[in-house]
């Protein structure tokens, strides 16, 4: 078990290493660099040389990679070009914002998804299932930029209940922030919930058809006790990985939604820094997003391992 965890963590680091190489090489290959972008038309001769020296771009690429990597491990990603401030400081509030948005969506979306998924499975082919399934499939198929725009149009512009874009700084108190993030959260949660509810539904239906559930019924176990003891623990295990991927996707910044709502999260930062050719920031973002994916997947795998007695002992035996 311990060996397995260590192995998975090591593999995670290797993944991150590969990601860092790819992004570094990618930014190197692209024509132009930070200085040409920064200096624009003055990018020649003395000034360009000076800029290279100042930013340390005059040393060979591998040396720069090593020093960048060493710093990155310590949390120092260097300077953002556009704002000329440490990337750390740029990232900090953005990560916090994305976290706020993601956790709100998670806390609302996951329970709803579970409940809807379970209801549709238990009342399979009956009215509740047909109704909810229609809605979820509908929600799944509308792209988020359309649902987000519609939300703004209806709730913010026609009804004027909530602000359409986020206009307050995010360090205000929660109560002040709340009305601003309701719409983006709803927009994200809709699609995510629909996906997860479908997943949970098919998983529960599969377990309901299993022999051990039939056995539990024939044993005289009351319906709800059977659902909670025999069905759900086994049906929700495979859902853990999907939930994990969803969380990673949320934390990674829901690019489209953030742009539509003008929400200052990681997703919008990705767009901004790419269009500004702010390569150090892009590099830093790539690494951070990769680490989020890797660590959340690792957590999900460990959780499955802990919750599934079968996997646990099989690992020991083999």
């Amino acid at each position: 078990m311990l060996f397995l965890i260590i192995k998975r963590i090591l593999l995670g680091f290797i993944t991150l290493f590969i990601v860092s190489i790819i992004t570094f090489v990618g930014t190197e290959i692209l024509p132009g660099d930070a200085c040409t972008t920064y200096l624009e038309r003055q990018a020649f001769g003395e000034q360009l040389e000076a800029c290279y020296r100042r930013l340390g771009l005059n040393v060979p690429a591998y040396e720069r990679y090593v020093s960048w990597a060493l710093n990155a491990i310590q949390g120092d990603f260097g300077y953002s070009l556009s704002g000329e401030m440490p990337i750390k400081e740029v990232l900090g509030p953005r990560i916090k914002n994305s976290l706020v948005l993601a956790s709100a969506a998670i806390f609302i979306g996951i329970p709803i998804a579970l409940i809807l998924g379970i209801i549709t499975a238990l009342w399979r082919d009956k009215l509740p299932d047909v109704a909810i399934s229609t809605v979820t499939i509908f929600a799944m198929t509308i792209p988020e930029f359309i649902s987000a725009t519609l939300l703004i149009l209806i709730i913010a512009i026609w009804l004027e209940w909530l602000p359409g874009i986020v206009i307050v700084p995010t360090d205000v108190s929660f109560l002040e922030l709340l009305p601003n993030i309701i719409l983006p959260v709803v927009a994200i949660a809709m699609i995510m919930t629909a996906h997860m509810a479908r997943m949970v539904r098919s998983s529960v239906i599969q377990v309901m058809a299993s022999e051990y559930v039939q056995m539990a019924i024939l044993k005289g176990v009351p319906y709800w006790k059977m659902v909670f003891k025999h069905v759900l623990p086994n049906a929700l295990l495979p859902a853990i990985n999907v939930v994990a991927l969803t969380i990673a996707w949320l934390l990674g910044g829901v690019v489209v939604t953030e742009v539509v709502f003008n929400y200052p999260g990681l997703g919008r930062l990705v767009i901004e820094s790419i269009s500004n050719r702010d390569l150090p920031t892009v590099q830093a973002l790539a690494i951070i997003l990769a680490s989020i994916y890797v660590s959340i997947n690792l957590l999900a795998d460990l959780l499955t391992l802990i919750l599934n007695p079968r996997l646990k002992t099989l690992q020991i035996r083999k």
């Binding site: 051990y212 019924i217 044993k219 005289g220 086994n234 599934n308 099989l314």
Partner: protein
Amino acid sequence: MTDIIQKVKNLSIGFRSKKGDEILILKNISTNIKKGETVGIVGESGSGKSTLALAMMGYVKHGLYTIGGECQFNSSNLLKMKSKDLEKIRGRKIAMIPQNAGQALTPNLKIGYQIDEALQLHSDLNEKEREKKISELLNKVRLPSPETIALRYPHELSGGQQQRVAVAMALAGTPDLLLLDEPTTGLDVTTQAHVLELLNFIAKDTGTSMVYVSHDLGAIAQVSDRIIVMYSGEIVLEGPSRDILKRPIHPYTHGLLKSIPKLSLAGLPESMPGSQPQPGTIQSGCSFFDRCNFSDENCKNNSPQLEFLKDLNTSVRCFNYEKLINENQVSQTVNKIKNKSQDKEILNLSEVSISYAKQKLLDQIFNRISDDNPTVKDININIKKGETIALVGESGSGKSTILKSIAGLLRTKDGLIRFDENRNLSSDLKERDPNDLRIIQLIFQNPDESLNPNHTIEEIIAQPLKLYFGLKGEELKKNIIDLLQKVRLGEFYTSRYPRQLSGGEKQRVAVARAFAAKPDIILCDEVTSALDVSVQAAVLNLLQQLKENFGTTYIFVSHDLAVVRAISDRVAVLYQGRLCEVGPSNDVYRFPSHPYTEVLLGAVLEPDPDIKPKLVAEDIVEERPPEKGCSFQGRCSRIVGDICKKEIPPWQLTDSGNAIRCHIPIKELQKEQF
């Protein structure tokens, strides 16, 4: 009348087809289960026997519904009962022991909890008493150290142990009626015999009524007082079990009993032609008409009713049962097989060892296998051209593992596989040339999985012909039809897909595919296990005939010792991947000498109430073969001393050519037999 515990009245269950037609799975079934009796329900797959058993608990599977009739328990109809009331009957009054306990136990709950749940629901015991009761129950089903078993998860137990847990769970509610749905199918012979013995003991001890559903007449014969034979959703014969097994008066039962291979008889049993009609087939006459040897015009046009014969105490659904009364005994005619083996050696395994152990990094790098105690060790077998040699043993004995290595699917650790006296075959598929691949063909257990569902029969059989002989066009077509005819399938099968064939037909296609390569050796891995008995006999006969025509050598793996007896010339008995005994099947079966052979043969169930299994050894499951000494030391009842634990027993030869690996002198082994 008070002694009737469950009354099934005119029960019909079915489903609606896509076209909206009502299709019957059970047709107007009526029967009674009396207090304290054990009723066996037999039939081939699709005869509706499990549906009937489930209906007796008021349970109808998703997709099926009750069309008419009742299942009365204590004069209330279970099929119309509210689920709240059913919960009070299920598990408490009527309990179920499922077919596959491994899948019927909830994987995330501990054994103790699952039994406790039944106790909580169906008894008034407090927590302390329940804990004691759990131990008692686990003890009753003879599981070792109940306290630790209760803390385990289902997957941590062996198949036999899981089945025992399921029995304990069913007994927790002290039911009046136990329903058993193929409770021993899928267990090893020895385990099966032990579980049946336990069930018999429980039936006597507690006076519980039992309904025992199985396709296996051998198992039914051991437990039941009364037998119900089902065919195509109808009861065709019902009566006292001895009469039905000894003097069946329905042609179906008659044919069924004749098609079962027996331990005492060498040679292939007669097969019953045809197969059971699909549900929904419209028939004007008797449903068994096409397969019946006793039928006449009347049977074709009118369907017989179940008729009760008072003097025989039997109900039968047949117009011509009187013909069978006169025929009396089931006279088993067998097609004696001739040993056509020549003296020429075709395959030789010498010192073969195979390991499943996960290899260390260093060994992986150097591409070698190191394991001091491999799964299969020191296999020396010399196979003659044209013979059928069978590998027998319980699950985990390494019989399929050896087949895989011969086929090149699994690397051996040590040893040589030599073909035709001079050619060494690599156990690695990649190192074999196309001809090496052609000479050895495999037929698998389950044709559903071994035939590609997206290929037509023509494409399936064409593949080896194209691959090995480069046939094309007309010639290819001619060869395919020729092969189909050899396995007795018509030309029109070429355009069909596997799913359109019955189990027996699919296995015939698999046989045709194997023969398409014109192989010298065919490896048969449990080829008849997934088939119904009547079909099994037909496939065995087919294999035998093809062998006689082509001089093919068969290596036959099966857990069914009666089947092995029927088809093989020679038998090799394996335990924990080590050979125990090798010899001509006549001798191995008539005078089983190795203690393990004795255990195996003793546990075989015959469809005859007078032959009881002999249980010699405990059915413990050993995880690994012992490090040293005799492989069977852990379960042997005849250990002679420390020598069994320390030294690998020597090979001893009997006069008839049996080789036995045991420390007990050969004279003594044979003497103690009878």
